[in-house]
Structures are given as C-alpha cells and as structure tokens.
C-alpha cells in the first residue's frame, strides 16, 4: 500500500459512509484530490462537510467505504494514527490554541514534543512561520491577547510547523468578523500558491472561486455537484446547487 507515487491522488475518498447513531451524515461520498490541488467543499449546515474532513485525519471514524492518504488506508485498525496526523494538518473553526502557551510556544509544541526536534531549530522554524502568517512581533503574546484573526493565523502556523503534506481547513473563517477574514484568507492563498494541498470547508464563495481548483457541493450527506469553479458558479446544473448559490450570492 505504500507504493504511492505523486501522480496518484494524495487523498482518495471512496464511497464513505458515516453515521452518528441512527443519523447517517455521509451517504457514500467520493472524491480524489491530487497533490498541490486546492479544493473547497461548500454546502448548507448539517450537510456533512466538517464530518467529512474530520474523517480524513481520523478524528472521526467511518462506517463504510475507504479513505486513503498517500496510498495509506486511514480507517485501518492497525494504522498508526499519529503517523497519519504528522502528514495531515488541521485548522479548526474555533482556533483551539493552547491558552497557557504563547504564540511561538503554540507553534513550537508539536515539533518539540512529538517530533523531538532540536529546540533551536524549532524556534527558528517557528519564527519563520509566524513571519509568514504576518505575525512578527506577536511571538510572546498569549492567545487571549490576540484577535480572532491573529489566533487563527497562529493556528495555521502551528499546523504548518509539522510540515504536513495536506492541510485541512474546517470553516476557519466562520467565527471571524469580515475584516479579519481577509487576513486569514490571504494566508491560505499564500499557502495554496506555494503548492500546498488544501482541503477547505468554507462559506466564503468569492474566496472559493478565486483559489479553488475544484469545488464540491454537498447536501444531506451526498455530493450533489462538483466541478472547476467557473463552471460550478456560472453553469451549475443541479437545481439544488443553483438554489443554494442564489441564497448565498
């Protein structure tokens, strides 16, 4: 299973089913993501978008189908979840920074404690990453002293510090005000431009159109429609997609 080459999908989702008790939230979802691709998953609340990307790094388990990351089956009993999570970074809607650590410590935690890297190297890396997300000078601020947008950018830097191959963004701008949304979106756009594979769940349609290579629209646990942004936004075929887009745009 490890004979994965970069011309194969880096993340491959096949007919995934997921239920919470009697409630089936994913009813056979499939998608393939190539290395360096940016894909956006959009859809109404409760359509299973967040659940889907939480399955990719095994935060949620699935009841059917398969998800592979670099050819490795994610929902295998014997899988080393920690190895998987070193390859797949995740950013959350509510930032989830460690409140007892400063910005730079938040970024340094995982490489230091999980990868057991040398402290001075990690500190250098953390400073570079904070510079990259435009937070120079905020290294020693605690999360409580930062704005939502700043916290979210620290969270992005924290994920990047593990040098993941794939980044998952779970509605990362949903808790932010319109002004600070921009800061975070710029950061993600930079990442995408550098060739990072990104899977985003988002409600920012303009942004999705601008950065995404491919857009998926989910509703009630299935993918209703997908396609490149221009086709998707201008020539949506499915009436449900059109209805959703009309409400949003």
């Amino acid at each position: 299973m490890t004979n994965w080459t970069s011309d194969q999908p880096i993340v491959s989702i096949n007919n995934v089913r997921k239920s919470f008790g009697a409630l089936e939230v994913l009813k056979g979802v499939s998608m393939n993501i190539m290395k360096g691709e940016v894909i956006c998953i959009i859809g109404p609340s409760g359509s299973g978008k967040s659940t889907l990307i939480r399955c990719i790094n095994a935060l949620n388990s699935i009841q059917g189908g398969s998800i592979t990351v670099e050819g490795q089956e994610v929902h295998d009993e014997d899988l080393d979840k920690l190895e998987l999570r070193k390859k797949v970074g995740m950013v959350f809607q509510q930032y989830n920074l460690f409140p007892h650590k400063t910005a730079i410590e938040n970024v340094m935690m995982a490489p230091l404690k999980v990868l057991k890297q040398n402290r001075s190297d990690v500190e250098k890396l953390a400073r570079e990453l904070l510079k990259k997300v435009r937070l120079e000078g905020k290294e020693n601020s605690y999360p409580g002293e930062l704005s939502g947008g700043q916290q979210q950018r620290v969270a992005i830097a924290r994920s990047l510090a593990m040098s993941p191959d794939v980044m998952l963004f779970d509605e990362v701008t949903a808790a932010l005000d319109p002004e600070t949304v921009k800061e975070v979106l710029f950061t993600i756009k930079d990442l995408a431009a550098e060739g990072m594979t990104c899977i985003l769940v988002t409600h920012e349609m303009g942004f999705a159109r601008e950065v995404a290579d491919h857009i998926y629209f989910t509703d009630r646990g299935v993918i209703v429609e997908h396609g490149p942004p221009d086709t998707f936004f201008d020539k949506a075929k499915d009436p449900r997609t059109r209805e959703f887009l009309n409400q949003i745009l």
């Binding site: 790094n57 935060l59 979840k81 920690l82 190895e83 999570r85 070193k86 797949v88 970074g89 995740m90 959350f92 509510q94 989830n96 920074l97 460690f98 409140p99 007892h100 935690m109 995982a110 404690k113 999980v114 409580g144 924290r158 994920s159 593990m162």
Partner: protein, 295 residues
C-alpha cells in the same frame, strides 16, 4: 416613580400569565468548595462575641471549683496541649494531605484512563472512600494494620499517629481523585482534538496540554479539602492518638474533671482550629477569585 415602575422589577408585579422566574444556578449546583466558602464568610465580630459570651455564661454557672481556677488550669496546660497536641494535628494533616494528594492524583488520572478495567476500578475506589464515614475508615485501618512490622529481621513499630495518617489520607485521596477528574473534564474537548490533530498521543496530550491548563483550577478545591481534613483530625483521639483533644482530656482528668474545665479547654481547641483554618479559607477564596478570571 410609580408611573414609570417596571412590573416585576420595582415591585412584585402581578400577572395571571405563566411566567418564568429568573433562574440562578447558584444554590442548585454542587459547590465543591462549600466548606471554605462558609468558613471564609464568618465575620470575626461574631467569633469575638462567641469568645467573650461563652466564658461569661460559664462564669455565671460556675460551681465550687470556680471559673478563674479553670482558666488558671488551662493556662498551665496550654504549652502541653498546643505544642504536643495541636502540633500533632497539624503534622497528621500535612502527612495525610501529602499521601492523599499523591494517591488521589494517581487515582484521578486512572479514572480518566482509556483502559476500562483501570477506569472502573479507580471509580469504585474513589466512590468507596469518598462516601464512607471517616471514623469507620479510621477504625478499619487501626485494626487492620499491625502494631509493628518486621522487615529483614528488623522490627519497625507503627505508632498510632502513623495509622491515623493512613486512615485520614484515604478519604482525602478519594476526594482529590474527584478534583483531578473534574478539572481535566472541565477542559474543552476541542483542546484534545487540537492536540490529537498535531499527532500528540494521549499521554502527551494529558501531560503537555490538558494538565497544565487545569492545574490552577485544582488548587482552591484542594485547599478546601486540607481545611476539612485539619478539622477532622480530632477524630484520631478516638483511636488514642496523642493530639489536642486526647491531651486536653488527659489534662482535664489531671485537674480532677471539674465541669468548669470544659469551656476553657474545648473552647481553646476550637479557637486553635479556627485560627489555623480561617486564614487558609480566606486565602483559598482569594485564589479562586484570581484564577477564575483567567481562562
């Protein structure tokens, strides 16, 4: 103002419609710091009144021995019951707290284990010692432990106060276990998810991320239990352990057991406990207020 009064706010308001009264969780939620909160809330003027009033009543009722004689007796015995008696109460409380804290932390973390057997065993131990009468636990320990143990031919005696320490540390352990469990559970689950997604394993998440966040939260309830424990140390006198109440009783016997002796001697013991625990309670409440602001 009558014309501008807001019904139900400035006056009681009248309606025959069903209304929801304002709900305050205080008074309903279990307060894990009820004891120090009560103790810290005692106003010193009331303490002063009791300290003055009680001997006054005793004076009024005094018999042939006379209250001044009783207080003179107390004065003679104060060094003994303080430095040989109360000293042991403090010693027992400190040792019990140390042992109880250590094993309570272990038990509390075991209650959070993801191995079902460990978790359930820890739960049973916690509930057993948390809900048993302290005196029963003390007697069981007293009778279950030998007077001396032999290690490689060496006979080591176990004095009564050591058994008292062990006996008192058990209920403390169980309550500390609950404090640890509650504090860890009070950290939002999003913190677990965030560290899991950064490839932290369970142990690393617990020690690097979760425990440092809730350590401060554990200190005030932990001190609450220290105050409760200290107040409970006179239970040891029933085991014959030399501590303030045991020695006060012996002193009163030496003074021929006049009833006038009760108020000075037991009053003195009460005062010692109060003035030892009251600052602890005040400090605990102050700490709680300081920690509550910071998330």
């Amino acid at each position: 103002m009558a014309t501008k009064s807001i019904p139900g706010f400035y006056d009681s308001g009248q309606t025959d419609l069903p209304v929801l009264k304002p709900f305050s969780p205080q008074g309903y939620a279990y307060d894990e710091m009820y004891f120090v909160r009560w103790l810290a809330g005692i106003q010193l003027k009331y303490v002063a009144i009791v300290v003055l009033l009680w001997p006054a009543i005793a004076f009024a009722k005094s018999g042939s021995y006379g209250m001044s004689g009783a207080f003179a007796a107390l004065w003679r015995w104060i060094p003994f019951i303080t430095f040989e008696g109360f000293f042991f109460n403090v010693l027992i409380s400190i040792f019990s707290m140390a042992i109880g804290t250590f094993f309570g932390a272990v038990l509390g973390l075991s209650q959070l284990s993801n191995v079902p057997l460990v978790r359930r065993t820890a739960y049973v131990f916690t509930q057993l010692f948390r809900n048993s009468p302290w005196l029963v636990i003390l007697f069981v320990v007293l009778l279950a432990f030998p007077f001396e143990i032999t290690v490689f031919g060496l006979i080591i005696p176990i004095p009564g106060w050591v058994k008292a320490v062990i006996g008192l540390s058990l209920p403390v352990m169980a309550n500390i276990s609950e404090i640890v469990r509650g504090a860890v559970n009070s950290v939002p689950s999003a913190q677990w998810e965030a560290s899991e997604s950064l490839a932290f394993n369970r142990t690393q998440t617990m020690w690097q991320i979760i425990l440092p966040q809730c350590f401060k939260r554990m200190i005030p309830p932990w001190m609450n239990w220290y105050a409760i424990l200290t107040m409970a140390t006179p239970l040891c006198s029933l085991l014959g352990v030399g501590e303030i109440i045991t020695y006060s009783r012996q002193a009163m016997e030496a003074e021929d057991n006049y009833t006038e002796l009760l108020v000075p001697f037991y009053g003195y013991a009460l005062m010692l406990f109060f003035f030892y625990c009251y600052p602890i309670a005040r400090f605990t409440i102050a700490l709680e207020k300081r920690f509550i602001v910071k998330l």
